[in-house]
């Protein structure tokens, strides 16, 4: 009979197929959807479409950088994103009469305070982040409704602001450059600094990290503050691009951001994930949405596909993790 080929293969390589897939599956998936799009979908490969896709993912992508810290630190998720984004957008538009520096300063600072509250509630008081940020986003939403007379739209008056928001630099929208910068800085923080090491340690085993002298509460606190800060930046860019702001401007953003991070392979249990994989997750989600739009799929169908993808991604991750641990 023939030689058993399995014996010829090095054991570690064979054992780690699942692990490999878990770590790099997202890159395979991104390549696959892009190839599929280019081959089957009309207009997918055009420059205009490319530009539209990366602009649409950039607002989500900026926030996903912060959410990656929250998820890897084992703090589950931040559900207060719509409030932070809408708050920033509304402040940036409504306060333009006091001058752009005031408007942008307030739009950066005040939503970041939401992150400070999140960090205190979830990081220091150790309230479950799903409940904690759901509560803070509800409180924040109430404040926005008071400030906007029940959610009135507001339109920008500053030409400079609008020009900035629709500006292209080297052929790419300004928000895409901001996203790339956020990913580069985020990657550096996560992979090369003490804070990044603290984030992985805290998420991988909270008790062990604490017993090793890692300032676990502060680590989680900072992750929430970073996320809100980035949500505020994203909100300002959205306001500048559309020159209007509304209470519901970022409805559903929390889901899109969390999807991108989880599709990228970060685990809700904490301790695993990387900035590069989150970027791949952001691109994957954006391309899939784009293909659906190009095919003329109605919005309802898009929602159903997005929901399904996240279940598949998380279930696959759990399945591979369980297989690896056996």
């Amino acid at each position: 009979m023939s030689v058993d080929k399995r014996v010829m293969l090095p054991t570690p390589g064979r054992l780690s197929v699942g692990r490999q897939l878990r770590a790099n599956g997202i890159f395979v998936a991104v390549t696959a959807v892009i190839l599929a799009g280019a081959l089957v979908v009309p207009n997918f490969g055009t420059l205009d479409n490319f530009s539209a896709v990366i602009r649409s993912v950039s607002f989500i992508g900026i926030i996903a950088v912060g959410m990656t810290f929250v998820v890897i630190a084992g703090a589950m998720v931040d559900l207060s994103i719509p409030t932070a984004v809408a708050g920033a957008a509304i402040l940036a538009i409504r306060l333009q009469d006091y001058g752009l520096p005031v408007a942008i300063g307030a739009a950066l600072l005040i939503p970041t305070l939401l992150g400070v509250v999140n960090g205190f509630v979830c990081g220091v008081l150790r309230v479950n982040p799903v409940v904690g940020t759901l509560a803070t986003t509800t409180v924040g939403g109430g404040l926005i409704l008071i400030g906007t007379n029940g959610g009135e739209f507001s339109y920008g008056s500053s030409d400079a602001f609008y020009r900035f928001g629709t500006h292209y630099v080297f052929g790419l929208p300004i928000s895409v450059w901001v996203m790339l910068a956020a990913f580069i800085v985020g990657h550096w923080l996560l992979a090369h600094t003490r804070y990044g090491a603290y984030v992985y340690a805290t998420g991988s085993n909270y008790a062990a990290a604490r017993a090793s002298g890692v300032p676990v509460r502060l680590t989680v606190f900072i992750a929430f503050v970073l996320t809100s800060l980035l949500a505020a930046i994203s909100g300002i860019l959205i306001a500048a691009y559309s020159n209007l702001a509304a209470f519901k401007v970022a409805d559903g953003y929390e889901f899109e951001v969390i999807s991108a991070v989880l599709i990228g392979g970060a685990s809700l249990l904490g301790g695993t994930g990387s900035m590069i994989r989150t970027l791949a997750g952001v691109i994957f989600a954006g391309v899939v949405t784009n293909i659906l739009i190009l095919f003329g799929a109605p919005f309802e169908a898009q929602l159903m596909v997005k929901g399904t993808i996240i279940i598949v991604a998380v279930a696959l991750d759990i399945w591979l993790a369980r297989r690896n641990s056996e």
């Binding site: 399995r6 054991t11 090369h192 600094t193 003490r194 804070y195 990044g196 090491a197 603290y198 992985y200 340690a201 991988s204 085993n205 008790a207 062990a208 990290a209 604490r210 017993a211 090793s212 002298g213 890692v214 300032p215 301790g271 695993t272 641990s325």
Partner: protein, 514 residues
């Protein structure tokens, strides 16, 4: 992967003459089990006759618990078969239950928020039309408790019970099932001498009615008092099956250990300055604890599980809040509100449960080895990869961690090598005092030897060590001095020259005057 052939020739050869004709109550043939990179069991045969009280002995990490979990159906063996009274059964918990296999676990499996009676009834809750039959539950519980000679009220809440009482409830629960095979994993670790004697009476009575009993204990005198025969396993392999009456104590130990472990000799002791001083330390679980440890000295903490040894370590290290008292290291008093404060003054703590507080198992070896020393390895907040790698390689070599791959995920290492990582991560912080909580529990002989040697080397270089161990022989081998703890207090202190097993055990198990 190569397959291991299953043979049962060994079992036949080892069968005692008296029971040749009879069918074993429980028989395991060629059990093999691997966890990740660890071979937990390798082709082990095991057999107990009906009515036989049989000791399963081996060091921590030898595979005893794995074998029992396989028999209990909690673990599926990679290879091997299980037979009950000659009939092969499926390797599942359900099949084990149906064939009358029952186990008293080392970690108690009672539900603390239920009553004693409810816990005893849990496996077969009597109901009528789906409603609980409260009277029936109580009656069963009362009978079961009476059988183990325990006078607890069936309606007391389990969370209010002492460890010893819980242990008795656990045993009553299993006895009540009239099992064909009953396995007990360290059932006496929290019992007093009286209670142990009563338990033995119950077990002998059960055996006389035909139950096969598998007994696991570290206490040699108990094995000789209770068991007829013993199976010895080491490093996951069957070493021998012996009749205890024909096997002297020394011989049994030699079979178990297989190699000589490093121990402290009088000449090693260098009297140093006092490193750790604890005065009047009081917490929720500790009462006015005062002790000291000198540099270059190993001080042991002996006592039963729950006596406050771990709580003392946690309080010193800032994991549990202090109510009263002071802690000082090298004359510097400090109040640790978190481990950070303790680490800063040079304290390291290797916790008892390495999976929970010792290691981030999903992360790499080097990430774990760097975790406690991140401030030193990341000057100005930026992690210097070269420093991290260099330090990791250094400690991997020093502790002989296998495989020596610093990027490997810690969860893929064997228990012993994981423990070396949990230990080694503190060396990078250059501590003055190491508190070691059961540092050799559940690891193989090789790792145990390596860690014991490390402890002795560190002490020789002036480290102060506070060593918590439930194994008196280990404390006797390593410690220069030891304190005995009971119910959150220090109840005795012994110098090395005065170490005496009997006296120490009397101290920790004696009933209080009240």
């Amino acid at each position: 992967m190569s397959s291991v052939s299953v043979t049962n020739t060994g079992a036949a050869a080892l069968a005692p003459a008296s029971s040749q004709a009879a069918v074993p109550a429980i028989e395991v043939i060629g059990a093999t089990k691997r966890f990740g990179g660890t071979q937990a069991l390798q082709d082990v045969d095991f057999r107990v006759m009906p009515g036989e009280i049989h000791a399963l002995v081996g060091e921590n990490g030898s595979g005893k618990t794995t074998l029992m979990r396989i028999i209990d159906g909690l673990l599926r063996p990679d290879e091997g078969t299980i037979r009950v009274l000659g009939a092969e059964i499926a390797p599942t918990a359900l099949a084990a239950r149906q064939h009358g296999i029952a186990m008293v676990h080392q970690e108690l499996s009672l539900v603390p928020t239920l009553t004693v009676a409810e816990n005893i009834a849990l496996q077969a809750i009597p109901t009528r039309f789906g409603f609980l039959r409260q009277g029936e539950i109580e009656r069963t519980a009362r009978q079961a408790l009476a059988r183990v000679g325990c006078e607890l009220a069936p309606d007391s809440l389990v969370e209010r019970l002492s460890l010893a009482e819980r242990q008795l409830v656990e045993i009553a629960r299993v006895v009540q099932l009239n099992p064909a095979v009953m396995m007990l994993d360290e059932p006496t670790s929290s019992l007093s001498a009286d209670e142990v004697e009563r338990l033995f009476v119950v077990l002998r009575r059960l055996a006389a009615s035909g139950t096969a009993i598998v007994y696991v204990s570290h206490r040699m005198d108990e094995l000789y008092a209770l068991c007829e025969s013993a199976t010895i396993i080491r490093d996951g392999r069957l070493v021998a099956r012996v009749q205890l009456a024909q096997t002297p104590h020394d011989e049994l130990v030699r079979l178990m250990v297989g190699q000589q472990l490093a121990e402290r000799t009088g000449s090693d002791t260098i009297p140093g300055d006092v490193c750790l001083t604890v005065r009047g330390l009081t917490t929720e679980r500790l009462n006015d604890v005062t002790l000291h440890v000198r540099s270059g000295e190993v001080v042991g903490l002996a006592g039963l599980v729950g006596s406050g040894r771990t709580e003392l370590a946690r309080a010193i290290f800032g994991l549990d809040p202090l109510r009263q008292g002071t802690v000082a290291v090298a004359g510097r008093e400090f109040h640790a509100r978190s481990p950070r404060d303790a680490i800063r003054v040079g304290v390291a703590y290797v916790p008892e449960d390495r999976g929970r507080e010792g290691l981030a198992r999903e992360l790499s070896l080097k990430a774990n080895l760097a975790m406690a020393a991140l401030p030193e390895l990341s000057p100005a907040g930026i992690v210097r990869r070269r420093l991290v790698d260099h330090s990791a390689k250094h400690f991997v070599a020093q502790l002989d961690i296998v495989p020596p791959e610093i990027n490997r995920q810690v969860s893929t290492l064997s228990g012993g090598n994981q423990q070396k990582v949990a230990f080694g991560k503190w060396l990078a912080t250059q501590p003055q005092l190491m508190i070691l909580d059961e540092p050799t529990r559940g690891i193989d002989v090789g790792a145990k030897a390596a860690i014991r040697e490390q402890i002795l080397t560190l002490v020789k270089h002036g480290m102060a060590v506070l060593l918590i161990s439930s194994e008196l022989p280990e404390l006797f081998d390593l410690a220069d001095r030891l304190y005995v703890m009971k119910r959150g207090r220090i109840v005795g202190e012994f110098a090395r020259s005065a170490f005496a097993e009997q006296a120490i055990m009397r101290l920790w198990s004696a009933h209080e005057a009240d």
